[in-house]
Amino acid sequence: MGAIRVDGLQKSYGSVEAVAGMEFTVERGELYGFLGPNGAGKTTTIRTLTGQVRPDAGTVRVLETDPATEPLETRRKVGILPEQGSPPSFLTPREYLEFVGEVRDLSADRVADQTAAWAERLGFESKLETLHTDLSRGQQQKVMITQAFIHEPDVVFIDEPLANLDPLVQEQVKRFLVSYAAGDNAVFVSTHNIDVAEEICTRVGIVADGQLVTERSLDDGADEGEGSLLELFLERVEAEETRDTPTLEHLGS
């Protein structure tokens, strides 16, 4: 049984078909990259896998829970780093992580230990008492990364993990994600950054127009004769992009 199993997933918003028959499986130990252009259905897929929206059709299993019918059980087991960043909040990072810990039924000691460890790892110790709303976007992202991992979940969903982070912290986060997945966990990363996906993911799925158009394994043993991930991405997505995106000539005219 995979950590994440998606079969025939469909989700529409009015007349817009955001996800149209998505199918894939992610196993424990995998760092799965979910690549696609804007509007391809990546965020809707994550929202469906975490029980935030109900699918129109298809079956989804995450750690043997059904996010459609038992969303709280799913969210209890997984970690989520949403795309839109954190909402404005007047809690400090320490208080916010205490809030997350209480909501997730973690002991105060464990939250304190995790907070200290993550603050040191990502370098926000000096900001633990600053109001969240007064933090820079990068600092807010560090706090949000911490909340996604604070309960050491077996599966983590991450939408753009490196957004707003400086290069040094990006390297730390990339290394951490690789090691976390290697520890028999599944990390599901949605990103536009193909270089990052190629660098850290064990497997990627390329999505366009709400469907998974191809997958590629990026393990060391993968076929080196294949083209780069960027070439594959462009090849599979370019036709859709060319149709939807105006060219410079179009803009000029």
């Binding site: 029980g51 935030q52 929206v53 109900r54 969210r75 404005p88 007047f90 400090t92 109001l131």
Partner: protein, 488 residues
């Protein structure tokens, strides 16, 4: 952009002309509201305002209310609405960035484009004044037709009444913007609050209330007074924009850990969610005083209205029943403050249900709302010398109606109480819901003074029933909005 880009540029090289900037801001405002509520629901909103204003005026006239009282009340509403609309001047503060920033791309474009933030704010506020002047104040002015009766002169009368209302609306806006501009120069909020409080006390103590009332109803005063108010408003607005410091940035704030202590002290299953709401409210601009100030403004407006009615007709209502019924309306503003810096979607990243979030908001509402209405209510019943029976009945009405208005707001508006103010269908539903409870109560409060035992018993039962309805509505709001959010 069209091919007329060149003609849109100012000679001074300042980019878009003010006229063009105004047009673009208007377009964004229209699209924002039609996107949020659907085109016709927003387009119908002025009609709802007009219907309410005209029907309310007719009802008041039929019940013997003096024309002067109605005119004064409409101007008081216009001033209050202007004071509220001026809060758009909070550019750069957490309030504006959080409330408007995500919706108004243009307002934040001064950060990325060569547009002066001061100029952009000025045009933004001008747009607001014109937009609300037409979409909201003009429908209010139609009540003039009900006051004077239909005749060939009605259009002129409505037009003049509109100008009068617009003038005080703009004065209200300019006042708020002026206070915000002072704030951007580093004057602490408490000092501004103190100055405003002293000014109000000074007006009252020197017996100048009548003079202020005459200034704030320009249509009834002399042309010189109206002209003075217009010039004063322009001067205040211009000076405010000059004083406004667009580079003002609040220093980074820190806080000691209160979360664990407070959450541990609250004996509720959803204590962390309640605690987050309370701390967010306490630490945002204005702190826990915001709901109290909102309730106090409501109290002051109603008290002034009672005074005017008393002085004209010689009829004073039973203060307990009257203020108990009206002050319950502050449930809307209190809930609005509790959700101002929150996002329901954000909670979906945690293992909590939307129903849990709404339950926590209800607990937070009771914590904040109870003292918020209790203090002004006590002040009112003491000041207006309510009888014991009247005060007790009013307290029951206050508690029951506050819960009812809260439940009504949450059920209709979910987590976005501010937005439904511009949705014709939801606003009309809310208004009818409020009127069902409030109108009979106010009538009873005016007709039987002091209240008889029978009336007191009937109103008390009514208050309890409405409170129960409110609890039921707020309990059902969670599942209702959970279905909606997960479906969308």
């Amino acid at each position: 952009m069209t091919g007329s880009v060149t003609s849109d540029r100012t000679d001074a090289g300042g980019g878009l002309s003010t006229r063009r900037l105004l047009a673009v801001l208007f377009r964004e405002e229209w699209r924002m509201h039609t996107q949020l509520f659907g085109g016709w629901r927003f387009a119908l909103f002025p009609l709802v305002i007009a219907a309410l204003a005209v029907s309310g005026t007719v009802a008041l006239l039929e019940t013997g209310t003096a024309q002067g009282t109605i005119v004064g009340g409409l101007h008081a509403l216009a001033v209050a609405f202007g004071l509220y609309s001026g809060t758009a001047g909070f550019a750069g503060s957490d309030m504006l960035e959080n409330v408007f920033g995500r919706l108004s791309l243009l307002l934040s474009s001064s950060q990325t484009l060569p547009l002066s933030r001061r100029r952009l704010l000025g045009v933004f506020l001008l747009k607001d004044a014109l937009f609300y002047g037409v979409a909201f104040v003009l429908p209010m002015a139609l009540s003039s037709a009900a006051l004077t009766g239909l005749s060939a002169a009605t259009p002129v009368a409505v037009g003049l009444f509109w100008l009068s209302l617009c003038l005080v609306f703009a004065a209200g806006m300019a006042t708020t913007v002026g206070l915000i501009a002072i704030r951007t120069r580093g004057v602490p909020p408490w000092a501004i609050g103190l100055a405003v409080g002293l000014a109000v006390v000074g007006i009252w103590a020197t017996g100048s209330l009548g003079a202020v009332q005459s200034v704030l109803v320009p249509g009834r005063g002399s042309a010189i007074t109206a002209g003075g108010l217009a010039i004063g408003t322009i001067v205040v607005a211009t000076v405010s924009l000059a004083v406004y410091d667009p580079t003002y940035g609040r220093p980074s704030r820190t806080a000691t850990d209160r979360f664990a202590w407070l959450s541990g002290a609250l004996p509720f299953e959803n204590a962390p969610l309640v605690t987050k709401s309370l701390l967010d409210l306490a630490r945002s601009s204005g702190g826990v005083w915001k709901p109290f100030v909102s309730a106090s403004i409501l109290l002051a407006l109603v008290a002034a209205l009672v005074g005017v009615v008393d002085s004209i007709t010689g009829i004073a209502p039973a203060p307990g029943i009257f203020f108990g019924g009206v002050l319950g309306l502050s449930a809307f503003t209190t809930y609005n403050w509790l959700t101002q810096f929150d996002s329901l979607e954000a909670y979906l990243a945690y293992p909590v249900s939307i129903a849990d979030v709404f339950r926590a908001k209800r607990i937070a509402f009771i914590f904040v709302g109870a003292p918020t209405v209790a203090v002004p209510y006590l002040a009112a019943v003491i000041w207006f010398e309510a009888t014991l029976l009247d005060a007790v009945v009013g307290a029951i009405l206050l508690a029951g109606y506050a819960l009812y208005y809260y439940g009504l707001t949450v059920y209709i508006a979910g987590f976005d109480p501010n937005e439904f103010l511009f949705d014709a269908v939801r606003f009309a539903t809310f208004t009818v819901g409020v009127a069902v409870a409030l109108v009979p109560t106010l009538v009873a409060g005016f007709v039987v003074v002091p209240p008889s035992i029978e009336l007191a018993a009937a109103l008390s039962v009514g208050g309890v029933v409405m409170g129960v309805i409110g609890v039921v509505l707020s309990s059902r709001a969670g599942p209702r909005w959970e279905r909606r959010y997960r479906r969308e």
